[in-house]
């Protein structure tokens, strides 16, 4: 991990979900960046990273699609860092980096497709892909954040939910599990660190990296509902008011299956589903609307009003 690198200005890859259901994540990420003096320059004319769906059809196509985004950021825009807040995009760019470094067959397909599509082939090693968590942790850090908190999250009990794609499989995240300061794939803690710095009480949540069934949210909804219900009930059990999220697919999956568990199984759960960037925004004194709290399905706006944060 290159701590020294200046992350004040990075290429920003929002991805498709942040233009749709994850709108509030995009909004709050940009707003927090602006407030903290961090420049996010959107990758020009980006395309979908391939997501899980294209990977299922053919993993090498997903590698190519992700490589095009990194090629634009490095070759056309001259950046050495791409920040992707969506776990899926982040995972896929990392996976493409790994595949293009280690697998000649993948390289051949990406070369051929890039050439035919008429853009430079991505050269592995040209950019480092980071998550929004890495970005805030490395560019600002807990101490930096503490100094700027105007509305402490004191009294909020938060369960941090990281999901699958942020840590698994480990081989595509060579910078993780590298001792002090690095992220852990078994017990990730970057979100805990940041939200604790913002004053929140972090509960010991056992399902941090359990799966929400996002892959089959619509194609096998009953399984997804079961998996999400586990996450929600565990959060209630830990007495958490909020499940903090860092991925648009997890976030909307939790929102959606919270309702589905209620309407289909009669199981009502209480945790509010909120993006971690929204929480940091509120702690920085930003308006609830600016960070898109009104877009959250689990009615967190009334909750934050009660707590004097909105």
């Amino acid at each position: 991990m290159s701590e020294q690198k200046d992350l004040k200005r990075v290429a920003y890859y929002p991805g498709c979900a942040l233009e749709g259901t994850g709108h509030a994540y995009d909004r709050s990420t940009r707003a927090v960046g602006k407030e903290l003096g961090l420049d996010l320059v959107e990758v020009e004319n980006w395309n979908c990273c391939g997501a899980m769906e294209v990977k299922n059809i053919d993993p090498k196509l997903q590698t190519y699609l992700s490589s095009r985004v990194m090629s634009i950021a490095s070759e056309d825009m001259g950046f050495d860092t791409v920040m992707a807040p969506c776990n899926g995009c982040y995972h896929n760019l990392k996976k493409a980096e790994y595949d293009l470094t280690n697998d000649p067959e993948n390289v051949a397909v990406t070369e051929r497709l890039s050439e035919k599509a008429g853009h430079p082939t991505y050269k592995p090693g040209s950019v480092e892909t980071i998550h929004a968590l890495d970005w805030l942790k490395r560019a600002i850090g807990e101490e930096g954040l503490k100094e700027r908190i105007t509305h402490s999250l004191k009294g909020l009990k938060i369960a941090n939910y990281y999901g699958c794609m942020y840590t698994r499989p480990r081989h595509i995240f060579p910078e993780k599990d590298q001792g002090p300061g690095s992220e852990s794939t078994l017990q990730p803690h970057f979100m805990d660190d940041l939200l604790e710095a913002a004053g929140a009480e972090i509960v010991d949540y056992p399902l941090k990296t359990a799966c929400c069934g996002g892959a089959h949210t619509l194609s096998d909804s009953d399984t997804s509902t079961k998996l999400v219900l586990n996450l929600l009930e565990a959060a209630d059990e830990c007495d958490a008011d909020i499940i903090a999220t860092e991925c648009p697919t997890c976030h909307s999956g939790l929102e959606m299956h919270q309702i589905r568990a209620e309407t289909k199984l009669g199981k009502k759960t209480n945790a509010k589903i909120v993006y971690f960037t929204q929480l940091i925004g509120l702690a920085l004194g930003m308006n609830a609307r600016t960070v898109g709290i009104h877009e959250n399905v689990s009615d967190s706006i009334n909750f934050f009003r009660e707590k004097g944060l909105a």
Binding site: C16, A17, E19, G20, T21, H23, N45, W46, N47, C48, G50, A51, M52, E53, V54, N56, I57, D58, P59, L61, Y64, L65, R68, V109, R112, L113, K116, A117, G118, C164, M165, T167, R168, P169, R170, T185, A210, C211, G213, A215, H216, L218, S219, D220, T223, S224, K226, L227, M256, I259, R260, E262, T263, K264, H294, E295, V297, S298, D299, I301
Partner: protein, 248 residues
């Protein structure tokens, strides 16, 4: 404690005679319980190579049957019949008919990669599950799974415009699978979603349904991808001994 991971004795093979006398001795009930022997005669030696030829299945031969994948599996926890270790065993042994007993649940893998994380042999069991689902569909053992319909709808949009628009993917998926778009819980979701939404945002979101997001100058990439997909499909079918012309 019994071995709970996979029981090879199927309930239908356990025979008990309620009324039975042998040599004048009454052995009715559980005294006469016996297990019908399990006979497998239809080995299909090609399955392993075929699965290994499909994307994701490449490293199936590395498996040493430790069971870490099944032990960590998300879906196994909610359905004990979902057993990646066992299926890899059956594929490698060529036990086709045994494998086909579970054909309708293999696609349910949620790609959480817990198996890939814990596999000591870098088999990439998650990939094997995808390859196996493809294999079942290509061979005609199962119809296209809902997941495959979703992937195809999604991928078609990416291939043709460079991006997806979620509302369009959802509508397309419901159409492909013949489900009504109006589902009670979806209606409830939308109701709660718009409760606090400003009109301007709602209009922008509505607009996305008409103005398709797309990557500029995507045409050449689209052509290159489509050419590649056709080639891959033909190669996959060939590896499985099927005619080159699929119905993709």
């Amino acid at each position: 404690m019994p071995i709970h991971e996979q029981n090879l004795i199927r309930p239908e093979n356990i025979i008990t005679n309620e009324e039975l006398e042998i040599d004048g001795i009454d052995v009715s009930g559980h005294w006469s319980t016996f297990i019908e022997s399990r006979v497998v005669t239809d080995y299909n030696e090609d399955i392993e190579d075929e699965v290994a030829a499909l994307p994701g299945g490449e490293y199936i031969n590395r498996c040493w049957q430790c069971g870490s994948c099944t032990n960590s599996c998300t879906v196994n926890a909610v359905n004990p019949d979902f057993n990646p270790r066992f299926w890899i065993y059956l594929v490698r042994m060529g036990m086709e008919s045994e494998l086909l007993r579970d054909k309708d649940i293999i696609w349910q893998c949620v790609s959480c990669n817990k198996c890939t994380y814990s596999c000591p042999r870098d088999v990439n069991p998650e990939g094997v599950m995808k390859a196996l689902s493809h294999w079942l569909e290509l061979k005609g053992h199962t119809p296209k799974s809902p997941s495959m319909h979703f992937d195809e709808e999604f991928a078609d949009q990416v291939f043709s415009t460079g991006k997806i628009e979620e509302g369009r993917v959802i509508r397309g998926f419901f159409q492909r699978t013949g489900q009504p778009l109006i589902q009670d819980w979806l209606v409830e979701l939308v109701k709660r979603l718009i409760r606090h939404m400003p009109v301007k945002l709602l209009m922008t979101m509505g607009l996305a349904n008409f103005v398709r997001p797309r990557t500029r100058d995507w045409g050449r990439a689209q052509a290159a991808i489509e050419e590649y997909v056709l080639e891959r499909d033909a190669a996959n079918r060939k590896a499985l001994g099927l005619d080159a012309a699929g119905d993709h």
